[in-house]
């Protein structure tokens, strides 16, 4: 499995062959607060890089979830829809959002590595 990459919209993405697993970062969950609702893309649908691919809501507000790369949705994590608090508990592992069969592997190159993302997150939240 490849290195984890990060988007400016606070998603993480992990590539396994041509399938990417995508979720939101711990930093994102800390900014959102308690997540109480999650909506995921439909299985079989196509999503475009930087397009909306879901919604999370905290007690305070709704936020869109974007996809960092384009592809076809091959799986979604029903467990986080049934119990959205799982996203706060384990955002960067078991509380993944959806899996994509990716269209263009070169889109991965536009994303940040962990070190750059951590720096970005720190700067933008200051």
């Amino acid at each position: 499995m490849s290195e984890v990459k990060y988007s400016k919209e606070h998603e993480w993405i992990k590539l396994d062959g041509d399938v990417a697993i995508i979720g939101i970062t711990k930093h994102a969950t800390e900014m959102l607060g308690d997540i109480v609702f999650a909506e995921l893309p439909e299985k079989g649908s196509s999503v475009e890089k930087d397009g909306t691919a879901g919604v999370v809501e905290s007690t305070k507000a709704a936020s869109d979830v974007y996809t960092p790369v384009s592809g076809e949705v091959v799986d979604t994590n029903q467990a986080i829809v049934d119990d959205p608090s799982k996203i706060n508990q384990d955002p960067e592992d078991s509380a993944w959002f959806f899996k994509l069969k990716i269209k263009d592997p070169s889109e991965m190159d536009t994303l940040m590595n962990k070190e750059d993302y951590d720096k970005f997150a720190k700067e933008t939240s200051a």
């Binding site: 607060g33 308690d34 109480v36 609702f37 919604v55 809501e57 905290s58 007690t59 305070k60 507000a61 709704a62 829809v81 959205p84 608090s85």
Partner: protein, 367 residues
């Protein structure tokens, strides 16, 4: 205008508060545990809310003041007992609501608790109506905290002996560190609790003592989810100048005796609406499933006709699901009426329900 801080600002920082600007004040929206935990802690134990941004208006006077205030508020103030409180509104001549408030009869006149965003305007309106006849003090030297939840009576009584004997919607003067403090048994969470008016210099000490006894600071975020579960209105959202108390389904707060005579600001419209009915009315709305319908969400009937709008909507941690209230055309206001809420372009089923979503446990008392 510079953002104000309350006297508990340092304590909020010590408790890792996240702050937001609210009505010109820097207020804690939540602390480290988060809104859901804070909400549940209040329901199960005891939570302390800094509401010092709210206005504490003392108006000094006797019989004449009672007569003059009755020309403003739809309340039977001459029969209001000493230290008893009533929920009411400051209306305009069309019965639109300038503010909702709690008015308490004190030994020197009245204490009125006003919303932070409205207090300066309320003061101006009231001063004009009362023609400067009475001493009016919008007291900036006093803080206001609320302690709410089932353990609050025991915790507060440990620090200030005697408060547990207060009845719901009544108050009295007590002392803390030789300071006169005014405590009422009231609140905004649907739980038993108290509101404490205390001079700024002593509020930090009192709050820290209450925390030491097991209560915790709770932010404005949980205050909102608690009040919405309790079916209580938030001014500027569920109430405003375009809505009357009858439309807001708050006619219980209007004195029947005063309606029979009229003669308060907005009485013509109130009486007309009570007799003829209203075209829109505030209702509780329960979305099916987990979708959250927030303020300004459009409400549709089963024939896809736009019939109203959500004015408050969030996730209710004690209900463990979404809760909302809003205004709908009167004919669709019956309990269990099926409606649809437009969220992010899709229509989601919901039904009209009675309020509150979470049942109150106020102490009525025996005396």
């Amino acid at each position: 205008m510079e953002t104000k801080k309350t006297s508990l600002y340092q304590l909020h920082q010590d408790c890792n508060a996240k702050f937001v600007e609210f009505a010109g004040y820097r207020m804690p929206i939540q602390y480290s545990e988060g809104i859901v935990e804070e909400h549940k802690f209040t329901r199960n134990h005891s939570g302390i809310f800094d509401v010092s941004h709210m206005g504490q208006l003392f108006i000094y006077g006797g019989e004449d003041l009672i007569k003059d205030l009755e020309k403003i508020f739809p309340l039977d103030l001459k029969n209001l007992k000493l230290n008893h409180s009533k929920y009411s509104f400051l209306m305009d001549k069309d019965a639109g609501i300038h503010d909702d408030l709690i008015i308490t009869k004190t030994n020197e006149g009245f204490l009125i608790i006003l919303n932070a965003a409205c207090k300066n305007n309320d003061f101006k309106i009231l001063k004009e109506f009362l023609e400067d006849k009475y001493k009016m003090v919008l007291d900036e030297n006093r803080s206001l905290i609320a302690i709410q939840g089932p353990k609050s009576s025991e915790i507060l009584n440990d620090v200030i002996n005697g408060v547990k004997d207060l009845n719901f919607m009544s108050g009295n003067w007590f002392t803390f560190e030789n300071q006169k403090i005014y405590i009422t048994r009231s609140g905004y969470t649907g739980e038993d609790g108290f509101e404490i008016s205390i001079v700024n210099n002593f509020v930090d000490k009192l709050t820290r003592e209450l925390i030491n006894k097991g209560s915790k600071l709770i932010g404005l975020g949980a205050r909102d989810t608690l009040r919405l579960e309790a079916g209580l209105c938030l001014y500027g959202h569920d109430l405003d100048k375009d809505k009357t108390p009858v439309e807001a389904n708050l006619k219980w707060a209007i004195s029947k005796e005063r309606i029979s005579k009229g003669d308060f600001i907005g009485s013509d419209i109130i009486i007309k609406q009570l007799n003829d009915g209203v075209s829109k009315i505030r209702v509780g709305i329960k979305p099916e499933g987990r979708i959250i319908a927030r303020e300004k969400t459009k409400i549709f009937n089963q024939s896809d006709v736009h019939i109203g709008e959500i004015t408050s909507g969030t996730f209710g941690p004690s209900v463990n699901g979404p809760v909302a209230m809003g205004y709908v055309e009167n004919e669709f206001s019956k309990k269990n009426t099926k409606v649809f809420l437009e969220v992010r372009g899709k229509k989601h089923p919901a039904s009209i329900c009675s309020l509150p979503f979470y049942k109150k446990s106020y102490v009525k008392g025996v005396n």
